[in-house]
């Protein structure tokens, strides 16, 4: 019977050049500190009696472990290598087989590499858990990013809740707290990542990544354009005026109510964890201020290039002070600012419950700000506004005059 994920692979060994570079750098630093220890007015018994030497070793070992975790994912994950991904798409590879260029999941060779770093740590009087922890956290962090890159949103959401919980008092691995809760959380994260990774492999090929990675200059064939044009807002402008505002196909993105709910809950949860971890005082004024900034930002996005059908003077002259078809863009920003002010009062009066109250207020503000109507798509299609030609059109006119 075929084993889908064998936990051994000699492909993952770091290149000899990299190992050599590490040995040389580490050796030079060690020699440097040995010389310092020997030439000090009161010679130390060994290099490890020099505190700077230990700190430096910690940094080098931690950084090397983090670098190795990065290498393991960026080198072997198909999402990070467009050429590999394209080749894999054409090959008979399926998700139940090992990746031909080497595994992304951990194998025993990884334990050897990280164990070697930990062993050096023991030899150099550095906490051996440091390189191990650095490796695990960087590996998990990169994997979280890659799950987002391959659009495993369910796993990303779960990880979004698990990551900040490591900051919470009682879970954070800070003495004298037991490390068991932290280990449980990390284990849960590892499980979510493993599950998300399996799902992402099943969903291969990830054609949406191709459009994101395609460079602007490389698009010269009809096929390339077919892929490139409907990709991102950045390329929308390339359709020219007026196609980029009248396009029947490319429309502003819209956050679905479910996504908004999840993101709002995440915002609230992160706030709660940060407030709890830092023992921060209630900050309703900051929340109101940030809400005003966010509401203004939302208003600017909606109003960019979309002017009211007529200006203030026109409103006064015609007696139409409110133009519902246009003024609806002000409704949500105003509602969210009012909600922030009310929330601020509630936070002030919540006493010892302020972390909970503050995080709930933040979640609600998020929901209103991003879920309040009209959606950007609805606004673009049904708003009563006057599209202004982009500034570049006017600059083109100037160029024409100069010619």
């Amino acid at each position: 019977m075929k084993r889908p994920f064998p936990f051994h692979s000699n492909l993952v060994w770091p290149a000899p050049g990299l190992v050599g570079a590490f040995v040389v750098i580490y050796g030079l630093v060690s020699v440097y500190f040995w010389l310092i220890a020997q030439t000090a007015p009161e010679p130390a018994r060994s290099t490890f009696d020099v505190p700077e030497a230990v700190s430096c070793c910690e940094i080098i070992l931690g950084f090397t472990a983090a670098l190795y975790a990065t290498y393991r994912l960026l080198r072997f994950h198909p999402a990070c290598n467009p050429g590999y991904s394209r080749w894999l798409k054409l090959s008979p590879w399926t998700a139940d087989r090992p990746l031909p260029a080497g595994p992304v999941h951990l194998v025993w060779q990884d334990a050897v590499v990280v164990g070697a770093l930990a062993a050096i740590g023991i030899w150099q009087h550095v906490n051996p858990l440091l390189p191990v922890t650095a490796f695990i956290f960087v590996y998990l962090a990169w994997f979280t990013v890659l799950l987002a890159f391959t659009r495993r949103w369910g796993s990303c959401l779960a990880l979004g809740f698990l990551w900040p919980s490591l900051m919470l008092p009682g879970i954070a691995p800070v003495p004298p707290t037991s490390v068991l809760p932290a280990i449980c959380v990390v284990a849960a994260m590892a499980y979510v990542i493993w599950y998300g990774y399996r799902q992402s492999l099943k969903a291969f090929p990830w054609d949406f990544i191709k459009t994101a990675l395609r460079s602007r200059r490389s698009s010269r064939s009809a096929l390339d354009i077919e892929v490139r044009i409907p990709s991102a807002a950045g390329t929308l402008f390339e359709l020219g005026w007026p196609f980029f505002v009248l396009s029947p196909k490319i429309l502003p993105p819209t956050i679905s109510p479910r996504t908004n709910l999840a993101l709002g809950a995440l915002a609230g949860w992160w706030s709660f964890c940060i407030i709890k971890a830092s023992q921060m005082d209630p900050l309703p004024e900051i929340i109101v201020l940030l809400t005003i900034v966010a509401a203004t930002f939302r208003l600017l996005i909606y109003a960019a290039g979309a002017a009211a059908p007529f200006n203030i003077l026109g409103r006064i002259a015609t007696g139409r002070i409110i133009v519902p078809g246009y003024d609806k863009i002000y409704a949500t920003p105003l509602a969210v600012v009012v909600a922030a002010m009310l929330g601020g009062i509630i936070i002030k009066r919540s006493g010892a419950w302020y972390p909970e109250t503050e995080s709930i207020v933040i979640a609600i503000l998020w929901w209103v700000l991003f879920g309040g109507g009209p959606t950007l798509r609805n606004w673009a299609l049904t708003g009563q506004f006057r599209r202004r030609a982009p500034a570049i059109v006017n600059s083109n006119r100037q160029m024409i005059k100069q010619v």
Binding site: R216, S219, R220, A222, I225, E226, I229, P230, F237, E238, L239, G240, W241, P242, F243, V245, L246, S247, P248, K249, I250, L251, P309, F310, N311, L313, G314, A317, T318, R320, G325, Y326, R377, N378, L381, T382, G383, Q384, F385, R386, R387, A389, P390, I392, V393, N396, R397, I400, V403
Partner: protein
């Protein structure tokens, strides 16, 4: 009051319907209570003095500007009434503004292919159509160079091609004959637009100040004066209405500035002081 057109059964065939549209910039009125109905397969030219609101009217029909009052229907769907209606309208309408902006770094061919894909034109047909358009407007040599290397006239041609490549049933063209087009391109565009309207049932609403081309190609002419529609009819009927047997500029002058010819006479006959 809906201004009549000469098409038979206009109610059934109307493609563009402008209902009680009024617009003003600040306190300056531009359009007042415009009611127009344009039947399918008609090539209608909008004429009027400078600054009378031709571009505004076309912008409202095209969806660039939302009118202060009134609304526009295209193919029986009301503009901006719902997301689906607006998307359907966008799928069947293409707009050429008086000052289009083209992405300078793309080649004309790339850009035309991109626009064609926006309108879901089938790939092989699209490539063939792009080739034919580039040939037609003598852009074959420039087709694969960045648009920034094109002259102003060539850019205008590319913009026109961008409108034609969409193959939509409604074209809204703001001053398509200006912007440095050479005589051959003017001839081509005149024939192509007339062919689209006569043979393929494309409805074309076009602002133009070039009477020769309007006379040659337009089924009907809308004359704007002040903030209103002064006339909307075929050229022959406009002649009959005004009692003017001359060319379109004379009919136009009679409708909009009846004193124009007298002013010319007085300019030359007035004694030098």
């Amino acid at each position: 009051m809906m201004i009549a057109s000469d098409g038979s059964k206009p109610e059934r065939q109307r493609m563009i319907n402008i209902v009680d549209v009024s617009h003003h910039y600040g306190v300056r009125p531009v359009l007042s209570h415009i009611n127009l109905s344009i039947p399918k397969g008609q090539l209608v030219a909008v004429m009027g003095p400078n600054g009378v609101g031709k571009s505004t009217l076309l912008g409202i029909v095209a969806g660039i500007t939302s009118p202060a009052r009134g609304y526009v229907e295209i193919g029986g769907l009301r503009r901006r009434s719902s997301e689906n209606a607006e998307i359907q309208i966008r799928k069947q309408t293409a707009y050429l503004p008086d000052h289009p902006w083209l992405p300078e770094s793309m080649t004309a061919r790339e850009w035309l292919l991109a626009i064609g894909q926006l309108y879901d034109i089938e790939s092989e047909h699209l490539m063939d159509h792009v080739n034919r358009l580039l040939d037609l407007f003598q852009l074959t040599d420039k087709g694969d160079s960045p648009i920034r290397t094109c002259s102003n006239g060539q850019k205008k041609k590319v913009a026109i091609c961008g409108t034609l490549i969409t193959e939509v049933p409604v074209l809204v063209l703001d001053e398509p004959f200006t912007g440095g087009l050479d005589p051959s391109a003017i001839l081509v565009l005149t024939r192509v637009l007339r062919h689209l309207a006569d043979n393929l049932g494309v409805t074309i609403l076009m602002a133009s100040q070039v009477p020769e081309t309007v006379e040659q190609m337009a089924h009907q002419v809308i004359v704007l004066s002040g903030t209103r529609v002064a006339a909307y009819d075929t050229l022959d009927r406009l002649r009959a209405k005004t009692g003017c047997k001359g060319s379109l500029p004379e009919v136009f002058a009679e409708l909009v500035h009846p004193q124009t010819l007298e002013h010319i006479d007085s300019y030359f006959t007035r004694p030098k002081s």
